[in-house]
């Protein structure tokens, strides 16, 4: 096996184990002895596995190949989630499969509410931390391994030149990880301070900052903490910051110039996002108002918050919106399917890709009348290369196919069509709360183990990109065919 992959996996496990020290210390401080034991056992297991893997990965290869990169992307999430799920299992709250399912839902920033919410604070803190770590991993992989494996679907187009070219070397990963950690921590601390200023308690503030910036959104299911107006505004800012193209901040930090952040407002992807948010908010608010759910101002503020929250695939809720009408949930589902901006932590299909597809379809309409016409697609003054357009078209088919196949598989659990659809889209777009649109936590917990594992796979596919998974399947298939049995 590729030694660089082993080394990187060892580091990921150590990082996961290291972060568990925080809830470990917290539970120790508060004298929650059962949780202390659970975290201690989990940290030891992580330490052992991490050290072994790093030991096996000494003198690694220079760089990752496409297939090794895809393999790392895929295995990394599983390994991280398994070690991250051990505390739930050792704590005795969940079975192993439930623990892994819950852990994967946190690490992939999906945020399915499976855990009983009156679990002790240390476990809840670990859930928030694992979402935060998941968000960090998304950014790290996005700027290191992902461009080499599946960056051809538009990711490389929006990246700074220094990131999209060259091999994936250990040195590059080291350098990038530190820089991203700086930006990510800075934004999180800023979020925490704003939450504190808005009047939240310390514990709530920390958790909310962690789940907002990571687009995990899974802290409390029934909006138990008091959401004052300022908390909502802070949450909105955090969600939008996480749903934006992070490379803008990157460049601002790199060049010490704020013009890159200012460019965000001129970015057409952001404008389209704003337009979509306005349109969806308008439709939902109108429906909620006409349906007698809220007064006009409440309808607008509630729909705006939830449209932004689901649009950035965060899923955090300012109000228990499960009682809303199916029409409103359908629109939230649509915007979650579209997802946030390219280069962000959020999931979904991504707005840039939709933008390219729409422009490309308009061009095709022209070509129906003028078959020999050469039409260029220009986004923010840059011509999108034909290759990228073609690949995004292919990606749309893959995305749709993956969804259709998953619907078929998950329908075998005995759920009805609506529930199956909710679950599939929730997993694929990392918007966990959507799973609860027509299900409750108990029903999710009662799902067969294979369904939970399949959902976990789907959440990971949602993060690593379906193409990376297909690359792996293709690689495995070719490997099997070419092997001399």
């Amino acid at each position: 096996m590729n030694k660089l992959v082993l080394l990187l996996m060892g580091r990921v496990i150590l990082l996961c184990g290291g972060l568990q020290l925080i809830p470990f210390c917290y539970s120790l401080y508060h004298g929650m002895w059962q949780t202390v034991g659970a975290f201690a056992a989990s940290i030891l297991a992580a330490l052992l596995a991490g050290v072994i893997l790093i030991g096996r990965g000494q003198e690694p290869e220079e760089s990752l190949s496409v297939l090794a990169g895809a393999g790392f992307l895929f295995v990394c999430w599983w390994i991280m989630s398994i070690f991250g799920g051990l505390p739930y299992y050792f704590d005795g709250d969940l079975t192993l499969i439930n623990g892994i399912f819950d852990s994967i839902s946190c690490f992939t920033t999906t945020g399915v509410m499976d855990l009983p919410y009156r679990a002790d604070d240390a476990i809840i803190l670990w859930r928030s931390l694992s979402q935060w770590l998941g968000g960090y991993m998304v950014l790290l992989l996005l700027s290191t391994v992902l461009p080499g494996t599946s960056g051809c679907f538009g990711t490389t187009f929006i990246m700074p030149g220094s990131l999209r070219t060259g091999p994936i070397t250990l040195r590059r990963i080291n350098r990038t990880s530190v820089k991203i950690l700086r930006i990510y921590t800075l934004v999180t601390v800023l979020g925490f301070l704003l939450y504190m200023l808005s009047g939240l308690e310390f514990f709530d503030g920390v958790n909310m900052a962690l789940v907002t910036i990571s687009t995990g959104g899974c802290y409390t299911p029934a909006a138990d903490i008091s959401f004052s107006g300022w908390v909502v505004v802070t949450a909105l800012l955090g969600i939008v910051a996480a749903g934006c193209n992070v490379f803008m901040y990157w460049q601002a930090l790199d060049f010490k110039e704020w013009r890159f952040v200012i460019h965000t407002w001129k970015n057409s992807e952001m404008r389209l996002f704003g337009l979509m948010v306005a349109a969806f908010t308008g439709i939902i608010a109108l429906h909620l108002y006409l349906g007698g759910f809220y007064s006009l101002s409440d309808a607008v503020s509630n729909s705006l918050f939830h449209v932004v929250s689901f649009g950035c695939t965060n899923g955090i809720m300012a109000e228990n919106m499960y009682h809303w009408d199916d029409v409103d949930k359908f629109f939230l589902m649509c915007i979650a399917l579209i997802g946030g901006c390219m280069g962000s932590i959020s999931g979904g299909f991504k707005i840039f890709r939709l933008q390219v597809l729409l422009k490309s379809s308009l061009a095709e309409m022209k070509r129906t009348l003028h078959p020999n016409m050469v039409v260029h697609i220009v986004i923010d003054g840059r011509t999108v290369p034909q290759k990228i357009i073609e690949r995004i078209l292919g990606y749309f088919f893959m995305f749709f196919l993956c969804m259709l196949f998953s619907l078929l598989v998950l329908s075998l659990t005995g759920l009805n069509m609506q529930q199956t659809m909710d679950m599939t889209i929730a997993c694929l777009t990392s918007s966990g709360p959507m799973m609860m649109f027509h299900l409750d936590a108990q029903e999710v917990r009662m799902l067969p183990d294979w369904a939970k594992l399949y959902c976990s796979l789907l959440m990971i596919i949602g993060k690593i990109n379906i193409f990376t998974f297909l690359l792996l399947v293709h690689g495995a298939w070719t490997g099997l065919r070419e092997r001399y049995w």
């Binding site: 309409m365 129906t368 073609e390 078209l393 259709l404 078929l408 293709h474 690689g475």
Partner: protein, 481 residues
Amino acid sequence: MNLKVIAYVLSQLQFAVTLSLGVPFVMALYWGEACAMDFAGTMLISLGVGVALSNYGELEHDSLTIREGIAVTGIAWFIIPLLASLPFLAGHYLNPIDSIFEGVSGLTCTGASVIKDLDAVPRSIILWRSITHWVGGLGIIVIYIAMFPQAGSGAAKMFNAEGAGPTEMRVVPRMKSTANALLLMYVFFSVILTTLLLLCGTSLFDAVNLAMSAIATGGFATTNGSAADFHSLSVELVLIIFMLIGGGNFGLYFLAYKKGYKYIIRDTEFRVYLAIYGVITLLVALNLYDAMGWQPGEALRGAAFQISSIMTTTGLSTYNFDEWPAFSQFCIILVMLMGGCGGSTSGGMKVSRVIILWKMVGTIIQEKLHPNSIARVTMESQSQSSTVVYRVARFFFLYVMIALLAACAFNFDGLPVVDSILLGLSCMGNAGVAFGAAYTFYDLPDVTKLVCCLCMIIGRLEIFTFLAMLQPGFWKRNSNW
């Protein structure tokens, strides 16, 4: 664009429609039904429109431009369904919106019916519904090109605008000969199916109507219970085979007729089509056996009929599949989305497009792993141009998007989420089946019905023709392209 040429061609089409209205008129007279006068009135209106268009129109040149070709086909697919709906309206069997829905559903071969009780409707009206299927099945334009002498070199533009697959397939070099070949096969299979149904013990009326409905992959039946009312295994088997034939490429059948059956067996699209049908039928049968506790034979029979009916976008039914488990329903949606082969009478995406998209993903993987290689999509050992491949991909994107937009409208009109999405896909694919609240179409709200009609026409015209007509400048007279 020359409006006179368009008017002239449309007038010819109008005369053809008048001619086809003559059949139920004569039969209504023969059966002594009062609705004969409704047909007579409709014929007069149709004739009047035809004469008016003919007086205005003039065939100034033999060849049509691309715009004129698209305009003729597009306008024809909006005007003719309106005329086709007049007999339903004149006899007060349906209200105006329902009549339009029935007319559009008939001509686009969707087969979604809003007539509550077929027993209360005269037989000539039922016959007219089936005729609309048969005329719309192969395509109004194809039949026009085959039957009228003045089609000229502009025929190709109209033929392409009507669309029946990702690539233009000509079994013989000339467009008129191609249309003749397709029509020949179409008539041949219709006659054979009618004969076989008669041999299976159905009445002549049922045999003729079912034959027209099945071979055109429409879905209108002669009784309220659709194909289930016959309670006959032989009828179901014959229908399965001929629905599958209807979902195959008619050009391919002509080639096989001329050059031997090996052409059919070697055709990738046809093989994939049959393979998908076989696999999905087995899966659904297993699911029905497992989840519903059906007997194996019954499960296989039900699955075989329903999947063939929906895969070919016919829509005849023997069971209430709305009560089937979610897995079977998703299988139904999968085949409904896929549809039959290119060059067939069926709707949906078409199997050839799905194959092209699948191979396109393969080329992307190939190019990623071997960056210097040039990977091409091939069909029948022929490399497909990237223009065709990516047009197919864009078609897929627009297909899904339009279905979703329609679903939004249905949703707002009061339908549940899943039912709306499936209704959108069903109308775009001209399948004529739906689930849940939309299972019986006559209960749908009026706005939903109108949106359904629009989707059916967009689906039948395969999107681009319709969208091209929406472009600013398309209708300008002073541009020559």
